[in-house]
Amino acid sequence: MDSVPKVPIDKWVEGFVAFLGEYRGELFDPIDSVISGMLTFFSTVLTGVPFFIIILLFGALTWVFGKRNTMITTVIGLSLIYNLGYWENTMETLGLVIVSALVSIVVGIPAGILCARHDAFRNLMTPVLDLMQTMPAFVYLIPAIFFFGLGEVPGVIASVIFAMPPIVRLTNLGIRQVPQELAEAADAFGSTGWQKLWKVQLPLAKTTILAGINQCIMLALSMVVIAAMIGAKGLGADVYRAISQVDIGRGFEAGLSIVIIAIVLDRITQHAGQKERETI
């Protein structure tokens, strides 16, 4: 067996990371500043605005997008978080999730559209997406820390890597599921590629894409604890501290807060898509 040399994947990856490291400034500083700028903005807004306004805002959002009776659950749940004393950390977490979701959407939807239009691109993306979803987060957290340093930015990066695949997949699926006759109709009347995309494919794929966004937010939320391990603030930090101190009570409280946030976000985004008219 010794005669067959080991495939030096480790060396390749290290070499690649080292190569990226050399150009760290040019490559990663813009990303770093954009993400930390967004994070600062959201955490300032969310922690700066009085808690009852935020609660009312979320109540209104569930009223508009979700089912009416979940509004009560939302208001009670968020009030409970405030009562337990996790309000500020919850808002930090929410900011982290919103930024991760925004980045995922901005990158993921165009990537999904490209996948739907070009089979070759989809074939290239599929294993990449598999890798993103299944590679243990700690593996790419190490280089992320190397590039961005400790803190919230690598946390966002890790969340984006984990949470973006459903958006890409479901955008691709949604567009491909548009009945061929409808795409043909758009072409037959002389649409340009963009017109077909905007006026036919995206509107019809909307429900599926929204399901992708919903999944993305849920997955981003599930990454907050891991993000906390590399220095991100928020509920994840509380959970992490509770684990290290074996503080069962506080751990449960922080975990419960994450669950409440998850339910609220899920109800808002899940039902947004379902109000669409049935397709023929």
Binding site: E181, A185, D187, F189, G190, S191, K199, L204, R277
Partner: protein, 505 residues
């Protein structure tokens, strides 16, 4: 080596011939390539020259490129050329759509399948050996302006592929298509889009309405993507919706409509940008039979005023017979027969067509002029004796009386004529004038009850009461069982007669 090229039509196929250094066309300019000119550019210039030449109608350019060494073919081409030129000078109209040698092969190596087809392999052999699927196999036909051209075939015969090739929703493997003399194949994306926007409308089998848009927004779609201002396009959309009678439903969504109504919207959407050509892919096949018949009637009614050129795809023979001015039968990607409905019915090209049309109701296809016999007639100034002699010569028992322009005046029977010979009366005093007449386009279906009621022959008259022929029971019954073999020539002659009658009138 010099090269000459020639564009022309031989045996109904547009060809582009190349020959080696042979002079054969009279005309302006050299047909030989000067040595200092790039060959590709030269050929391109020649093409343009032919295209723009007044001597050549736009219909006579590149279809199929064949290299020939056989000068006989060239000579044949030349004679063909003069025939064509004569046609052009006579003002023969250019067909709206010309399809030439169009083929489509699905699979990775389409050219291989084309080669095998040329070697005489069948579609099935090719599929078994290479896995390539031949959709459309060297199809050529013309569609005249204002006609409904029906392409009929079973599923898998390539008819839907064929219609999609016409607006290049599917790219052909070889062959070409002209619409108004403009070559669709080879257009760049922008030109193609212009043609699709301005000239072609399409109606789909499953309607293909956009579910998120209202009826009006669906109908507006074609105009919207052309950036027509909102007011103008709403106006046009409303007109189109009114045409199909859905004014009340303007703001409904497709899910709220029944199948028939949805297809009306589909039709309105195709009509909204006022295209010359409508491509209708099994447009009524998804509707239930009664609604389908309504839609067919409505299409025919609309067509009376619109005069669009319609390429209609169907698998339903009765639909084809009802709608088609001409019908093309398709099997395994090839056209088996192209002709008027009555030709297809009475003169099927092969067993396949025969089987296909077997169960069709001939009485709803054949019209009076298809089964009428020559009518014996005489002018009233002739004497009774002449009339009797004429009857005896032709073995008939009655004779029509017509004036000099062959307008029908009346009918005399042999009995009356023989009486008149003894009394000395003239033909015009003894003739009966209340005789049954029908127009040449009356369906047999409507003739039969009439024939049962009357006991004298029925006269077929054109405009101005012009006598065209006579219906006798034997011939009509023969027509019903398809025993009457109507040759092209005869129909054509009848047609010309009817037409020239119309003109003279």
């Amino acid at each position: 080596m010099y090269r000459s090229i020639f564009y022309g039509e031989i045996n109904g196929q547009l060809i582009h011939m190349q020959s080696n250094g042979c002079r054969w066309i009279r005309g302006s300019g050299s047909r030989h390539k000067p040595s200092n000119v790039d060959e590709k550019q030269w050929i391109l210039n020649r093409k343009t020259e032919y295209r723009e030449s007044t001597m050549w109608d736009a219909r006579y350019y590149v279809g199929l490129r064949i290299s020939i060494s056989n000068h006989a073919l060239v000579c044949c081409g030349i004679s063909q050329f003069f025939v064509l030129r004569k046609n052009v000078k006579r003002g023969k109209r250019m067909p709206k759509i010309q399809v030439r040698q169009l083929s489509k092969v699905f699979g990775r190596q389409p050219q291989l399948a084309l080669k095998l087809l040329a070697e005489g392999w069948t579609k099935e052999q090719i599929f078994r050996q290479t896995g390539l699927s031949v959709g459309v196999n060297q199809v050529s036909f013309d569609v005249e302006e204002g006609e409904i051209f029906v392409i009929m075939g079973l599923s898998g015969s390539g008819k839907s592929t064929l219609v999609r090739l016409c607006n290049r929703l599917i790219e052909p493997t070889s062959g070409t298509i002209f619409i108004d003399g403009e070559e669709i194949i080879g257009m760049n994306a922008t030109q193609l889009r212009e043609v699709r926007r301005k000239k072609l409308g399409m109606v789909f089998q499953n309607f293909a309405l956009f579910p998120q848009r209202t009826v009006r927004e669906n109908v507006e779609f074609g105009l919207e993507i052309q950036h027509v201002p909102v007011d103008a396009r709403q106006e046009k959309a409303r007109e189109a919706i009114a045409l199909v009678g859905l004014e009340e439903w303007e703001n409904a969504y497709p899910v709220q409509l029944s199948g028939g109504m949805r297809q009306r919207v589909g039709l309105a959407r195709a009509l909204a940008n006022n295209p010359d050509v409508l491509l209708m892919d099994e447009a009524f096949s998804a509707l239930d039979p009664l609604i389908r018949k309504d839609m067919q009637d409505e299409l025919l009614e609309l067509q009376m005023t619109m005069k669009k050129t319609i390429l209609f795809i169907t698998h339903d023979l009765h639909e084809a017979l009802r709608l088609g001015d001409r019908i093309a039968l398709m099997r395994d990607g090839q056209l088996i027969q192209v002709g008027r409905p009555e030709e297809i019915m009475t003169d099927p090209a092969d067993e396949f067509v025969k089987k296909f049309v077997e169960d069709a109701d001939l009485s709803r296809v054949l019209v009076a002029k298809n089964v009428m016999k020559r009518a014996e007639a005489i002018t009233p100034d002739k004497g009774a004796r002449v009339a009797l002699q004429l009857m005896m010569d032709n073995g008939v028992s009655s004779l029509y009386i017509v004036d000099k322009k062959r307008s029908l005046l009346g009918l005399v029977s042999a009995y009356d004529v023989s009486l008149a010979i003894s009394t000395g009366e003239t033909l015009s005093t003894i003739m009966k004038t209340d005789i049954p007449t029908v127009s040449p386009d009356t369906l047999l279906h409507d003739l039969i009850p009439m024939m049962a009621d009357v006991h004298v022959p029925i006269a077929v008259v054109g405009e101005q009461q012009r006598l065209l022929g006579v219906l006798v029971k034997g011939a009509v019954l023969g027509g019903l069982v398809g025993k009457v073999n109507i040759s092209d020539e005869r129909i054509e002659r009848l047609r010309v007669e009817v037409k020239s009658d119309g003109l003279r009138a």
